[in-house]
């Protein structure tokens, strides 16, 4: 788990994290699941398509009956970079940080997120696991961290 920073209230104009409650988004279960440590997405009950990110309408068959499915918690790094300069407002103190694309185990689904861990030792193909990032205001997000192969 990634610890919350000290609370700060930024304008919505500069707040990168999605608003997560039922009053803000129809995919609020995603965030509830993430609170529980589960990485999930939607599956179309009509055509079976599983998509990233979660949807309310299926782009393939136009149905709008979705069910929530768990995604693998582990995967391997497909690409990554260490950001050394040019952080967006609110992320200046994070520099340097690593962002990467992870292929989830047993799927061809990829997810982009921060990757925790020693940048020097990262490489393409390295195994990683989801970890939950908790914000001071109660919201959650996710990152990956390296694990033993």
């Amino acid at each position: 788990m990634v610890e919350a920073k000290a609370e700060r209230r930024v304008p919505y104009l500069l707040d990168f994290y999605p608003l997560q409650g039922e009053e803000h988004t129809r995919i609020h279960p995603f965030f509830q699941h993430l609170q529980e440590g589960r990485l999930t997405t939607t599956r179309c009950t009509a055509c079976g398509e599983v998509l990233w990110q979660p949807r309310v309408v299926c782009p393939h068959c136009n149905a709008d009956e979705m069910e929530w499915v768990d995604l693998p918690q582990v995967g391997e790094i497909f690409a990554f970079t260490s950001v050394q300069a040019g952080a967006p407002k609110g992320m200046e103190e994070d520099l340097p940080f690593v962002v990467g694309i992870v292929t989830l185990k047993g799927t061809d689904m990829q997810i982009l997120a921060r990757i925790e861990g020693d940048e020097e030792s990262l490489e393409i193909g390295q195994p990683v696991r989801v970890t939950v990032e908790r914000l001071a205001d109660g919201r959650v997000w996710f990152r990956f961290r390296t694990v033993e192969a």
């Binding site: 304008p11 104009l13 608003l19 039922e22 129809r26 995919i27 309310v56 309408v57 782009p59």
Partner: protein, 383 residues
């Protein structure tokens, strides 16, 4: 146009993306024999996504939400309250030039934020932020001064303004997609909270989340998808300003007259040929001045026009039968597209009997900012 789609409008518990998905579903459900792969282009009208949704580059995002992969054109248009009509016009041009065969148009806006003062700050950036927004100017104070001058110069009454809202709410009461689907009395309008003197809450269009969508195809393919295609036959636009103090007048909008004239002339018709019109009633005073600039009422007599019921069904020209911006709300980028949706649904008999007009010719009008820009489409269904 070969199909339409609307989301429910209001203070929606949904994100910009989710509104786009809903509009896409409604659209593809309506044109159910059109495979998504045949949609070669997408035009997205949205005004303030960069600020209100903290999201730029909305066009490819909407494409992904709809599940289409444009292979000919992909564009986002921004022109404040005219953003949606501009997307319509760009799609029209793309098809007319052969740069697209089948194009989707989506107008979408997410305006309600947990901190509405941030929404208002963003709306203040539609006017010149440095020289007008800084004074606290947004649309309501601008149109309030327009109303003050129209009352001062022509004797327009507070009651006449209110009647516009009464009419448009009567129409929106029959529109399940509207933000405000219920009737209001003149008393209710005149006693609603003051927003910016002399304009009250019920003189003002709401701050609304919503989306609207239309599918366009060229004449050669339109009948594959519908028996009753509706065509864009005329387009006109004119602008001046930009600062409020550099406008020719607060109460006369000569550039609206020009846009109307050009659009009608391109279509080879006159205002008398129109069966209905969707005009930009962002505030009650706007519709009053629009009666005048459409050439239907003498200058200064717009108030009398509504009193006489000339913009009602059965009057000289029924206007805003979907409920207008006053009744439906005004998600900036969606409004111009939703007006076209109403016209198509009127022409094809898809509206409730209470507001049915039908017909084969219609005009849609949007203004933007401090009314420094006016844009008009003339639509036609082969009879």
């Amino acid at each position: 146009m070969v199909g339409t789609g609307l989301t429910h409008w209001g203070v929606r518990k949904a994100t910009l993306k989710e509104l786009a998905q809903e509009a896409g579903k409604a659209l593809f459900d309506d044109v159910d024999n059109l495979p998504k792969a045949e949609v070669d282009s997408l035009f997205v009208g949205t005004a303030l996504a960069e600020r209100l949704a903290f999201q730029s580059y909305v066009a490819p995002m909407v494409a992904e939400q709809l599940g289409i992969h444009p292979t000919r054109m992909l564009a986002r248009t921004e022109l404040a309250c005219v953003s949606g009509q501009l997307a319509m016009k760009m799609a029209y041009m793309a098809i007319a030039t052969g740069l697209s065969d089948i194009a989707a148009v989506v107008g979408v806006e997410k305006m309600n934020l947990p901190d509405m003062a941030e929404t208002q700050a963003s709306l203040a950036a539609i006017l010149d932020r440095e020289w007008e927004g800084v004074a606290g100017m947004t649309a309501p104070p601008y149109f309030a001064m327009v109303a003050q001058r129209h009352m001062y110069e022509y004797g327009t009454t507070r009651e006449q303004l209110g009647l516009v809202s009464v009419k448009n709410h009567r129409f929106s009461a029959t529109n399940p997609y509207a933000h405000f689907p219920k009737e209001v009395s003149l008393d209710q309008v005149l006693n609603s909270p003051m927003v910016s003197t002399p304009l009250r809450l019920l003189d003002s269009s709401g701050i609304t989340d919503g989306a609207a969508a239309v599918m366009l195809a060229g004449e050669d393919r339109a009948r594959e998808f519908t028996d009753t295609p509706v065509y864009i036959e005329g387009a006109g636009q004119a602008a001046t300003g930009n600062l409020t103090v550099n406008l020719p007048s607060l109460t006369e909008w000569p550039h609206m007259r020009r846009a109307v004239r050009d659009a009608l002339s391109m279509a080879g018709v006159t205002i008398q040929d129109m069966d209905l019109a969707e005009v930009h009633d962002c505030f009650s005073i706007s519709e009053i001045i629009e009666y005048e600039e459409l050439g239907l009422a003498e200058k200064g007599k717009g108030g009398q026009f509504i009193e006489e019921g000339q913009s009602e069904i059965g009057g000289q020209l029924p206007m805003n039968t979907r409920g207008g911006l006053l009744g439906c709300g005004h998600p900036l980028g969606a409004t111009g597209v939703a007006q076209v949706v109403e016209v198509v649904q009127q022409f094809t008999g898809q509206v409730p009997q209470e507001r049915y007009v039908g017909g084969t010719w219609a005009l849609t009008h949007n203004l933007s900012g401090n009314a420094n820009n006016h844009s008009v489409l003339v639509l036609h269904r082969d009879s």
